[in-house]
């Protein structure tokens, strides 16, 4: 702090500390904002609950049928709930100019973007994971399925937030971006859905499900490395629009 940039190690450390601070600052700010709009926080959860209620009404209330559908249905609806929450991810920051400031700031936009996506996951993916067992009961999910359901959602929703944020960043400057966002993001969700739902199904049928969890984990690792780059690029493009 006291000695100006001469020792390269010290410079690097300072830069690291600064970007670490930026990360925490963005994280804290966005979390605060999310807590202030508590009503919006509940929306994906209510959506999740509503759609799951529709399934027995539309298909059949018999526990046997529901148990067959449960792993796939819970996963598909969690995916849709994430998708619907994405449109607001950068919207208000884009409208009031915060986004532009964030991208202009000297800290790496990679870190800032990652912080924003993490807050999105904390406010949608994590709550969805936590209420999933409750909805599992409503869908008569067999007992062996609960832990794999939560584990796969925990890993999978992270990838969903990261991949979805790319679409949100691309469409944030469009007035009517909502439907377009789903259109461009959903095909990219296919692998996550396949491995997430299949992990739960494998556990119900009494097989090991660690392969699926490992694959979901590797998707998440890949997404953490690559997605923020695409998000930052897309945001820069949207802001300059």
């Amino acid at each position: 702090m006291n000695k100006p940039a001469q020792d390269p190690l010290a410079v690097a450390e300072m830069a690291e500390r600064r970007s670490g601070n930026a990360f925490m600052a963005t994280l804290r700010r966005d979390l605060k904002l999310a807590i202030r709009h508590r009503g919006e926080l509940a929306n994906p959860l209510i959506f999740f609950l509503l759609v799951i209620t529709m399934v027995p009404l539309g298909v059949s209330p018999s526990p046997k049928t529901l148990a067959v559908l449960a792993p796939g249905m819970l996963w598909v609806v969690a995916l849709l709930a994430t998708l619907l929450s994405l449109d607001g991810l950068f919207r208000s920051d884009f409208d009031d100019g915060t986004l532009e400031q964030l991208l202009l700031s000297p800290q790496s936009s990679y870190i800032n973007v990652l912080a924003k996506v993490i807050v999105h996951w904390l406010t949608t993916g994590l709550p969805l994971t936590l209420v999933a067992p409750l909805l599992g009961v409503m869908m008569s999910l067999p007992e062996a399925g609960y832990i794999p359901l939560m584990l796969s959602l925990l890993l999978g929703t992270g990838s969903l937030s990261l991949i979805g944020a790319i679409g949100a960043a691309l469409t944030v400057s469009l007035r009517k971006g909502g439907l377009l966002l789903s259109l461009i993001v959903m095909p990219l969700y296919v692998p996550v859905l396949i491995f997430g739902a299949s992990g739960v199904r494998a556990a119900i049928e009494g097989f090991a499900y660690n392969t699926q969890l490992a694959v979901l984990g590797s998707f998440l690792a890949l997404a953490i490395i690559a997605a923020p780059l695409a998000i930052a690029g897309a945001l820069k493009m949207s802001v300059n629009n």
Binding site: I163, G177, V190, P191, I194, S198, N241
Partner: protein, 246 residues
């Protein structure tokens, strides 16, 4: 000096004038190959012992799906070149590749579904190949929709370049996942293409694949040329090129 051609490529005018002479050749060669390949495939290729005559659809389905897939990579690479070197021409190639690829994908999907009827007794089966092609179609439609959504061409170009790059990273993962998913749900059933194929059946197939590749090249160049004319309509050389030839 070695890089001169690359910089020249950035000039739409140079590109337009350079490709002028190739166009009729590429088109006639590709159509010649496709027509003669089709006649060969329909009338002269031997009968398949398991699938009978319906396997003749393979000569359309396989080339269309291969070239549709290649078209996505061409689109993404062109988009990447556009993003890195800010090359206008490259963005144009990217933009026009999407509809061509989408048409080829739709064709692969249609022929696959119709082929399924005599093979499996139903038009649609969630087979690994058909499912992957369907998702490829969705990826194309996403890029086209994004391209259409922006009013400014420059932004539209950048956005669809980013999306197609993300899609390229995803395509191998999607294909592998769908493959894995398929083996999980459907054990052995009739595969659409047998791995060991008689040479008499193979030659027309290779011919058709080549023909489709050349046709795609032609279509990519021709659409890029129209795109150039559209975007540079106000320049002198476009006016000269278009109005004097009439």
């Amino acid at each position: 000096m070695a890089w001169q051609w690359f910089h020249r490529l950035g000039s739409p005018k140079w590109f337009y004038e350079k490709t002028n002479a190739w166009m009729p050749w590429l088109l006639s060669i590709s159509l010649l190959i496709i027509v003669s390949g089709s006649i060969w495939a329909l009338g002269f290729a031997p009968l398949d012992s398991k699938q009978g005559n319906s396997y003749r659809i393979m000569y359309l389905h396989v080339p269309a799906s291969i070239v549709a897939m290649a078209a996505y990579y061409v689109m993404a690479i062109a988009g990447a070149i556009g993003l890195i070197w800010k090359m206008k021409l490259s963005y144009m190639v990217m933009k026009v590749a999407a509809p061509i690829g989408a048409v080829l994908t739709a064709m692969a999907l249609f022929t696959g579904a119709v082929w399924g009827k005599p093979t499996w007794g139903t038009y649609w089966v969630w087979d690994a190949r058909l499912t992957s092609v369907l998702i490829l179609l969705f990826l194309y439609l996403g890029v086209i929709a994004l391209q259409e959504a922006f009013r400014e061409q420059e932004v539209a170009d950048k956005a669809s370049a980013i999306l197609s790059l993300v899609g390229t990273v995803n395509i191998p993962i999607i294909y592998k996942s769908v493959d894995w998913w398929f083996t999980l749900h459907q054990p052995a059933s009739i595969k659409m293409t047998s791995s060991s194929i008689a040479p008499e059946m193979l030659y027309p197939l290779l011919g058709m694949i080549t023909g489709f590749y050349i046709l795609f090249t032609w279509a990519l160049l021709a659409s890029t040329r129209s795109e150039i004319l559209q975007r540079e309509m106000k320049t002198k050389w476009v006016k000269q090129a278009l109005l004097e030839k009439v």
